[in-house]
């Protein structure tokens, strides 16, 4: 157990101290009094567990490759930007552009997420990035998605008209991967490139596995969550813009 008091510290100094502690072999680090410092966990390739007390700033876990970060409060924008592996757990809400270009690892958010979450996520064979959000999402959820898994739960209750689970342009430009949504999806608000489908057996297995992990992080019940039916969004074609050009 290793503590760093981040009070009044510039991000550069804080991250230097974190990197130094990781290099010294500390595998459980707590950052206290964090207040908006950028880039926590950026580029770290070892596998420590870092607990963050306070609100971390943008680009948390960007390019991260291994650590587990647990944020005890809300978090801001650009979390898990181009993240390669590891895990980020947010106990509150999180902001916009989460998991942009994410290549692997997990991002679990207990609350709501903002705009353009999970855009251009990728995946190859066993490297499947996963984002699970317990609440609702803003517009452009899963835009340009090329791989991986996005799951939206709406645990606080949603209503397709007054409090929809996702904003407009859900899955627009999607050409790979899967989006699972608990509850109803408004078909007028999804991207032109995706279709709303029922889950097959493999989907159920995948979903259950992802939710078990999510629920373990927040002490929730998988069975309760899975009582509600899920829908799946998948691309209609893996080449949505094949006819855009005259050769």
């Amino acid at each position: 157990m290793y503590n760093i008091d981040a009070k009044g510290m510039h991000f550069k100094e804080l991250n230097e101290q974190v990197r130094a502690a990781v290099k010294d072999g500390e595998d459980e680090i707590t950052l206290q009094n964090v207040n908006g410092q950028y880039y926590i966990g950026v580029g770290i390739r070892e596998k420590p567990t870092i607990t963050i007390e306070g609100v971390p700033g943008n680009d948390l876990a960007a390019f991260m490759d291994g650590p587990t970060l647990r944020v005890k409060s809300n978090a801001q924008d650009n979390i898990a930007n181009t993240m390669n592996s590891g895990k980020v757990i947010i106990e509150g809400h999180a902001g916009d552009v989460l998991g942009y270009g994410m290549r692997g690892g997990k991002l679990h958010i207990k609350g709501n997420v903002g705009y353009r979450v999970g855009i251009h996520m990728k995946g190859y064979k066993k490297q499947i990035p996963t984002i699970v959000a317990g609440g609702t999402a803003g517009d452009f959820f899963g835009e340009y998605m090329a791989g991986g898994v996005l799951i939206l739960l709406g645990l606080e209750g949603t209503d397709v008209k007054t409090n929809p689970i996702a904003g407009d342009y859900l899955g627009t430009g999607m050409h790979g991967g899967k989006i699972f949504v608990r509850g109803e999806i408004d078909p007028t608000r999804i991207g032109a490139e995706v279709g709303i489908l029922d889950l097959d057996e493999n989907d159920h297995k995948l979903l259950k596995k992802c939710l078990e992990d999510f629920c373990a992080d927040f002490d929730l019940s998988v069975d309760d969550i899975m009582k509600e039916p899920f829908k799946k969004l998948e691309p209609i074609t893996d080449r949505p813009y094949g006819n855009l050009y005259a050769y």
């Binding site: 580029g43 390669n84 791989g147 094949g242 005259a246």
Partner: protein, 505 residues
Amino acid sequence: MFKSHVLPEYLATIDTDKCIRCKRCIHNCGWGVYSWSGERVLIDTQKCVKCLRCYHYCPVEAIEIEDSKTRYKDNSSWTYKNIRNIKKQAETGGMPLSGMGCDLPLPILFDNMLLDACQVTNPSIDPLREPMELRTYLGKKPDKLEVERTKDGKLKLKEGFKMTPQIKLDAPFMFSPMSFGSISLNAQKVLAMAAKECGIVMNTGEGSLHEDLLPYTDHVMVQVASGRFGVNPDYLNAGVACEIKIGQGAKPGIGGHLPGEKIPLQVAKTRMIPVGSDALSPAPQHDIYSIEDLRQLIYALKEATEYKKPISVKIATVHNVAAIASGIVRAGADIVYLDGFRGGTGAAPNVIRDHMGIPIEHAIAAVDERLRQEGIRNEASVVAAGGIRSAGDAAKAIALGADAVAIGTAALMTMGCTVCGKCYTGNCSWGITTQRPELTARLDPEIFGERLANLIRSWKHELMEVLGALGVNSIESLRGSRERIRGIGLDTETLDMLGIKAAGT
């Protein structure tokens, strides 16, 4: 099926008296122009793109590729290209697409600039027998150096003085970013081998770093663009610098669509997308909507590389380029890479390529001037690209204020490219802009790496001759020295903009 009204562009012909039926043309053509009838070679001229691969590999010189003689009636407004595009668009509903840079006859200001030379009043220098320095360092330069004397009286950097990270180039040249996917792995190897041989750098573009390039990483710059293809911490730390790609001269303001034809398993794997899907690079980087956001990504990369690599930001040159470049420098970039509107591409919609952006000559002058006025010219190096055709262009670009130039199209020419402009089809018969294994196999990295190295050697000699004639012995003395350029046939406004005098004054 209706017959297309689009006129064939070229007429491929075979002199049957000369033809020895060796079928090499059939084998060499990536476009399927030639086929075998059982007795002779058949020609489907509609498919010909005039890449001239067949011409070069016909052992008896039986092949001629001419521009198709049948043209629409002469009309200066409704040109052949305009009519052809309209018919194509009517038949497909798609946007006409092109590979390579803008080919319209717009003014090329390099051709309206002449360099000075020494006569009588100051001596010129002979570069063959006297030292001539082309070494170039790219990166933020400190406001001042702090030095101290050692015991034996020599100067050295003061203890504790930390120099900002730099890219070391043996000559002010680089290869512009071209990704694995847009070009073949063999073409990337050619660039890497030549870069190593010549002490300069190549740039991965946005398509990850293939493991075959690992032996060359001291001469590789890695790129982070909006698709984030192949980006992980190992990649960011692998090369000599990281580049954030905001824009490309050939297609300012739009993203990339690497067509599914160029996404076989290997490329799909490195990009982590489905085989045969189009690789989409979004138009913006969605984590950058402002200069402040750019600063955020620049410093994210600096954190990820522990401040050991210079960070370059590449933009297309657009109307307000000077103010944008100033913002980029203030955001913390160590290098500003300017890509002029004549710059090449694997694919760009014609409407963007031919109508957007400004030439590199204007951009260098505007950016260099603005950074000087603001007192931040030392904060970042300026790389100029997009239409550098010769060492002469390079010398003029440097005299206008660039620290180095980057070349893409010229480098591809050494591999066989004839600028046919069909890179987006994935059928390149020279094995450059294709992923078809039977085509890529014909590009031997060793042979063509040497040819590209030869081009750079030749340009080095030329640049040294230019410096010698100017009476200076270092590229540093030419950098930003606009006094050594005169304009010819340019109006006062353009001369003022470029910061040069008219010839004769």
